[in-house]
């Protein structure tokens, strides 16, 4: 059994250290800004100056999670990131092509994908298993599945999360590529979780299972059915499908596909980034934990949420969460 004992998210919602954020959800527009905490509360000012957005977000969410879960240190730190530390990567690349002679090393040092997990281990003085997964839209699920493996082995409490940051070049490229399917703002975000094999009085929800299919050539509905069957469930047992929609067309398809189950797109609330499914998992956790019925047809009680990550068509992620009393 796996339980989510803490969640922390930095997003366009006021989600950070705010218990009631799902009551104030707003659709992300081109003008909305990422709502960030005062990072000085989490990182020493001298270190903070060097850190890009993605590292700051990762450390703040991690420390917040640990505080919420009332633990000293997790037994593993596992991070998923779709594109890694883009700010430092671009900065160092730019420097190598424009500076003659000695180039400062800081951006290079911070350009590797595992800077986030590495910096978290430094911040927490944590010597445990430290891993970074990067499989575009499935990076978060793969981190989560690794965390579940750890809990099936000898570990009790793991920190799992994901972070991605947008840079101006991405906006430029999306225009050049004419990525018409992207309707939502390209942005940044981070979500971290404490996942444990033991339930305690802080536990928010139960995590039933997580599964991915890369380079999928099967009908997603068939994948979902077999994923649920593996957990002795069927679609009738699902009260809400949280999915990743970039546009109204997809919403129509998903609604028809899952009718009469209620569906909700999380991407409208967090914007477009490779690991935004982690925002979806935090949202699902809050809906279940707070018994939030406003997203469900007829305001029926919500026991189980299927998180259906269809960020891109070829890679599918499925995560199943259940309310504690279910």
């Amino acid at each position: 059994m796996y339980y989510i004992n803490a969640c922390s998210t930095i997003s366009h919602q006021g989600s950070f250290q705010n218990e009631s954020w799902i009551n104030e959800l707003k659709i992300v527009t081109n003008n909305s800004k990422l709502i960030t905490p005062n990072y000085k509360e989490f990182v020493d000012a001298a270190d903070l100056r060097r850190m890009s957005k993605i590292i700051r977000m990762g450390i703040a969410c991690s420390k917040d999670c640990i505080q919420q879960a009332e633990i000293d240190n997790p037994d593993a730190i596992i991070v998923g990131t779709g594109l890694g530390c883009l700010t430092d990567t671009e900065k160092f690349l730019h420097n190598t092509l424009t500076i003659e002679g000695l180039i400062p090393p800081t951006a290079f040092i911070q350009s590797t994908h595992n800077t986030i997990a590495g910096q978290i281990s430094l911040a927490l003085k944590n010597h445990q298993y430290n891993m970074t997964h990067t499989q575009n839209s499935l990076s978060f699920e793969h981190a989560l599945m690794d965390g579940m493996l750890c809990l099936d082995e000898e570990k009790d409490t793991v920190l799992v999360g994901s972070a991605d940051e947008n840079i101006a070049l991405m906006d430029e490229l999306s225009k050049s590529f004419n990525w018409s399917e992207i309707e939502n703002k390209l942005t940044s975000g981070a979500s971290f979780f404490i996942v444990s094999n033991a339930k305690n009085n802080l536990t928010k929800v139960q995590l039933i299972d997580c599964f991915t299919v890369g380079l999928n050539d099967t009908n997603p509905k068939a994948l979902i059915t077999s994923f649920l069957a593996k957990n002795n469930l069927s679609l009738n047992d699902i009260d809400l499908v949280l999915f990743n929609s970039n546009g109204t067309l997809k919403l129509d398809i998903i609604q028809k596909e899952f009718n009469p189950i209620s569906v909700l797109s999380y991407e409208h609330f967090c914007g477009y980034y490779f690991t935004n499914v982690a925002f979806g998992m935090h949202l699902a956790t809050e809906i279940l934990n707070k018994k939030k019925t406003s997203f469900i047809t007829n305001n029926k009680p919500v026991h189980r949420i299927l998180l259906y990550n269809n960020f891109n068509n070829k890679n599918i992620g499925l995560t199943l969460l259940q309310a504690l009393e279910a």
């Binding site: 730190i77 779709g82 594109l83 890694g84 671009e90 160092f92 690349l93 730019h94 420097n95 190598t96 092509l97 424009t98 000695l102 180039i103 400062p104 090393p105 290079f108 040092i109 911070q110 350009s111 590797t112 994908h113 595992n114 800077t115 997990a117 590495g118 910096q119 281990s121 430094l122 927490l124 003085k125 944590n126 010597h127 445990q128 298993y129 430290n130 891993m131 970074t132 997964h133 990067t134 499989q135 575009n136 499935l138 990076s139 793969h142 599945m145 690794d146 493996l149 099936d152 082995e153 490229l173 050049s176 590529f177 991915t212 299919v213 890369g214 380079l215 999928n216 050539d217 070829k314």
Partner: protein, 392 residues
């Protein structure tokens, strides 16, 4: 439950396949030479794979654009996969790893962008590391669990470890695991900016070492569980019996002087393998030739093995430091050591490091009793990994 290694593949500066790598190791023939293929401003010493992108694309018949990282990965992955077939009862996954991903193409795009208003944007489509792995998966017809790890220089050792855990926890029956990195201006400039790129031949574990020489390449291994080999009838080449990853939590790039993370990784891998330090026959060290790594690793070896350090060597002076690929390239070499009962030489060594006085093996030694090989990989972010292989 045993984890069987049933296929190996490698491409590096010392050869385009396992056999060529074996011959070069035996003949003490380094692959490090002044830059030839990469468009770089100086004739630095690097371990280049001696095939251009065009030659690789023609040989593999793959669509472009494709990153050199994918191209090298496809060569090694195909060799490790061999003539294996897909089977409905064998759940097969792919776990690769890379530190640069498609940076070789991205830096070309970025250079064009600085110089002209209409750069070739198709070059940037191969940037993401996940794409690097998906191109390899496509060539082998693998779908399902496809994943990429990126923990700098320990990446592919971690891929080995994750693959083993996926089999042990019965999530997969068979998994192709590997790592791939191509040489880029980005990484060369990076290690130069850190002042750890040697302008001389890399000298692992030598008192007068001046830093690393970068290399490129890919290593892949096929791991199978009992059920899978009962169906494939593959003959095990070696058994993967120990693995561990631990964080040094000391500094973003430098290793701790007390070798804390490395010591933990080695100790925990031994524990996982249920072996005593004295059971280890040979150690393929990380040994990058930087002042910091080789000292910290030597201290860790002394912490664990005390006065009885098994024969050890670093093969970085053959291949250069292949970053994310080094863990699996060296795991392939570990399999060779077990198969042929050999110890691999550490080239360019002459004087022990004064603080630790450890002496690596410098000769190709045959007729050794090699029952177990321990292999270290340490990366930026204090990411330390150790794997242990034993005779099949």
């Amino acid at each position: 439950m045993n984890i069987y290694i049933t296929g190996i593949g490698v491409i590096s500066a010392i050869g385009l396949n396992v056999q060529e790598n074996y011959q070069s190791l035996k003949n003490k023939k380094t692959g490090i030479a002044p830059i030839h293929l990469l468009n770089y401003k100086e004739k630095l010493l690097v371990g280049e794979v001696k095939l251009s992108n065009e030659m690789l694309v023609n040989h593999l018949h793959v669509a472009t654009p494709i990153s050199r990282t994918s191209l090298l990965g496809i060569v090694a992955a195909k060799e490790a996969w061999g003539n294996n077939q897909h089977h409905q009862d064998i759940r097969t996954g792919l776990i690769s790893s890379t530190s640069v991903g498609g940076m070789d193409n991205s830096e070309k795009y970025y250079q064009q962008k600085l110089e002209n208003p209409t750069p070739d944007i198709s070059l940037i489509t191969t940037h993401d590391s996940g794409d690097t792995t998906e191109r390899i998966a496509k060539e082998l017809g693998i779908s399902g669990y496809i994943n990429t790890l990126s923990t700098a220089c320990s990446s592919s050792a971690n891929a080995i470890m994750l693959g083993a855990r996926m089999l042990q926890q019965n999530k997969l029956d068979r998994v192709l695991i590997g790592g791939s990195d191509s040489l880029t201006n980005f990484t060369i400039e990076g290690f130069k900016s850190l002042m750890i790129y040697s302008d001389e031949w890399v000298k692992p574990f030598d008192e007068h070492r001046k830093g690393l020489n970068l290399g490129e390449g890919s290593g892949f291994l096929l791991l199978e569980n009992e059920k899978s080999i009962s169906l494939t009838k593959n003959k095990p080449l070696a058994i993967l019996c120990g693995w561990s990853n631990a964080a040094d939590a000391y500094h973003q790039t430098a290793s701790s002087p007390d070798g804390k993370g490395a010591t933990l990784a080695i100790q925990q891998a031994l524990k996982k393998a249920n072996l005593k330090p004295s059971d280890i026959s040979y150690i393929n060290a990380h040994g990058t030739g930087t002042s910091n790594n080789d000292l910290s690793e030597s201290v860790a070896l002394k912490n664990v093995f005390k006065e009885n350090i098994p024969p050890f060597s670093s093969t970085k002076a053959y291949t250069g430091h292949t970053l994310a690929a080094s863990g699996t390239i060296e795991a392939v070499y570990a399999v060779l050591a077990l198969q042929h009962q050999i110890i691999l030489p550490n080239l360019n060594y002459s004087t022990p490091i004064s603080e630790t006085m450890l002496i690596p093996e410098v000769e190709w030694k045959i007729n050794q009793e090699i029952n177990t090989v321990l292999s270290n990989s340490f990366g930026f972010g204090g990411n330390n990994s150790t794997i242990i292989l034993k005779k099949a």
